[in-house]
Assembly symmetry: C2
Amino acid sequence: MTRTPQQNAQRHGGAIVDIRSLPQPYLLFLGDVTDPSYAKTAFGLRDWAPERCVAEYRCDGGTVTVGLPTMTVAGARAAGAKAVVIGVANVGGTIPDSWIAPLLDALEAGLDIVSGMHVKLGEIPPLAAASARLGRRLIDVRVPPRSIPIGTGRKRSGKRLLTVGTDCALGKKYTALALTRAFERRGLDVHFRATGQTGILIAGGGIPMDAVISDFEAGAAEMLSPDAAPDHWDVIEGQGSLLHPGYAAVSLGLLHGSQPDVIVGCHAPGRIEMAGTAGYPVPRIEDLLELTLRLGARTNPAIRCAGISLNTAHLADAEAERVIEQEAARLGMPVADPIRGGPAFERLVDACLA
Amino acid sequence: MTRTPQQNAQRHGGAIVDIRSLPQPYLLFLGDVTDPSYAKTAFGLRDWAPERCVAEYRCDGGTVTVGLPTMTVAGARAAGAKAVVIGVANVGGTIPDSWIAPLLDALEAGLDIVSGMHVKLGEIPPLAAASARLGRRLIDVRVPPRSIPIGTGRKRSGKRLLTVGTDCALGKKYTALALTRAFERRGLDVHFRATGQTGILIAGGGIPMDAVISDFEAGAAEMLSPDAAPDHWDVIEGQGSLLHPGYAAVSLGLLHGSQPDVIVGCHAPGRIEMAGTAGYPVPRIEDLLELTLRLGARTNPAIRCAGISLNTAHLADAEAERVIEQEAARLGMPVADPIRGGPAFERLVDACLA
């Protein structure tokens, strides 16, 4: 018997994840990756939900650290961890065979497993068997909600901000989280709306937009930020890039369905090639913004760009400051690195709320 | 146990449908619809695969006909029909309760059921039970293939044409089929690449692009038109519209992954509002083309527009001719109604191959 993916999600999946029901705190699993850019989930949890992170561990050959203490599964269990979170992702969202043994060890040690991969934990026979035998939970957060409607483009009440980017994995989530906290500090009524597995784990809710059937992509985005009070802000985590040859469908459905009033462009100066592509250069931020405003105007003619978030994590302080000032002058709009904060970031926040 | 939709498709679905394995000829089921625009599949099969269509039937209250003889399920079985094809679609792709009884009658009469809806036949308990009891087949063609990769944007060999439209359901499939036949008449090596359920039933293969998980949308389109001989043409059926607030994600993923050398714009003069939207006007064809060329250039910088296919089915002959000539003069490119054919259509074919 065949099932449509959508139907399957509607039957088995679903519901926006409520992080309060998840076993925590976490041990962060870093697999065997050697490139920190694949450990987005682990870094995100460390940075935005450190109170829920006990330690980290990895396979033989893995070299990435998020700076937490390294523990064995038994040591982490003894230190209070209730679940291991798969803290790394790879292209396609699969779980390689080399991760199975350490994940089985975690189950044996009394930990549940939480995953945001495309592949589902229960589909992996040894994990399914061990969890059943041991009474442990396998929790997948990358499952869309049950009933997603087709998008209609109906204008909704409330205010929305969407972060957009020139590539994957360069700061759209961090920027949205930092802006959410800044809005909160200013006393505004604001929600962070998560669209990826890490954001969902941090926020305790959201929709994994890249796991939604394409026909329902914009409808899912409409569902994610429903009608709200006129002065309520939804700050929506962007996904992919409109100019990425693999992921633009996700980005456009999210843009149309989010109908943002404000966009903030995210860019990583110095990055040359788009992630996972056959030699596609990272576009210029101004080209991405112009295209986003044009496409976004289809569902919100009042869309505007408040400014730019630069990921300067790889730059020394003085160089970062120089690049930020240079880009602000060149583009004539607020530019900041939200992680560095400071007056530049406050000017970006001002522009979002202007 | 939850399953990711993608995983589910990978386990249960899949493989590009081979129409030679389907039970045929068909009885076309028209449900209870009263608007012919919802009977795309039935009209498509009648027009492009009439040798596989025995008759039509409908529920009480249904008023649409495709012009075939109306038969009971028993009469159609006696006349040689092997399966009933659900020939109507609705927003969201569901099967309403009112269709269950007539579909059960079809199973009782000895017919299998073929469906291209989002909802799967086997998910409907009375149909599942009756098919099991009677030994009849429930065949869903709207299931993506097993292993879809993430799109990379790698340039592929061979030539590709994609039809694009200012709305849904206005002639993208018919235009692609008519161009395919015209290319065949000129002795070219050409494949029609189906992207929706009706096209798949007509062609005997393809990928239901709107049922693909959004993260894999461009990758599915890359898979659909693989590397080919330098002079081989793939004529790819377009989906949705880049300017539709609900379906643009499908359209953009298909555009990026198809990396077309040539686009043909499809438009229905006189249509005011986009299908299923909250008052969105149908865009101007020139705006759609300009946007398509701009976005398509990301994966094929040599993309060009060969001309326009106008759906003039609702116009008298003289008025249709006038509109076609007027649009050709206004836009300075070949304009034709492929169903009407004639010299205008041959000029459009010339431009595709120029």
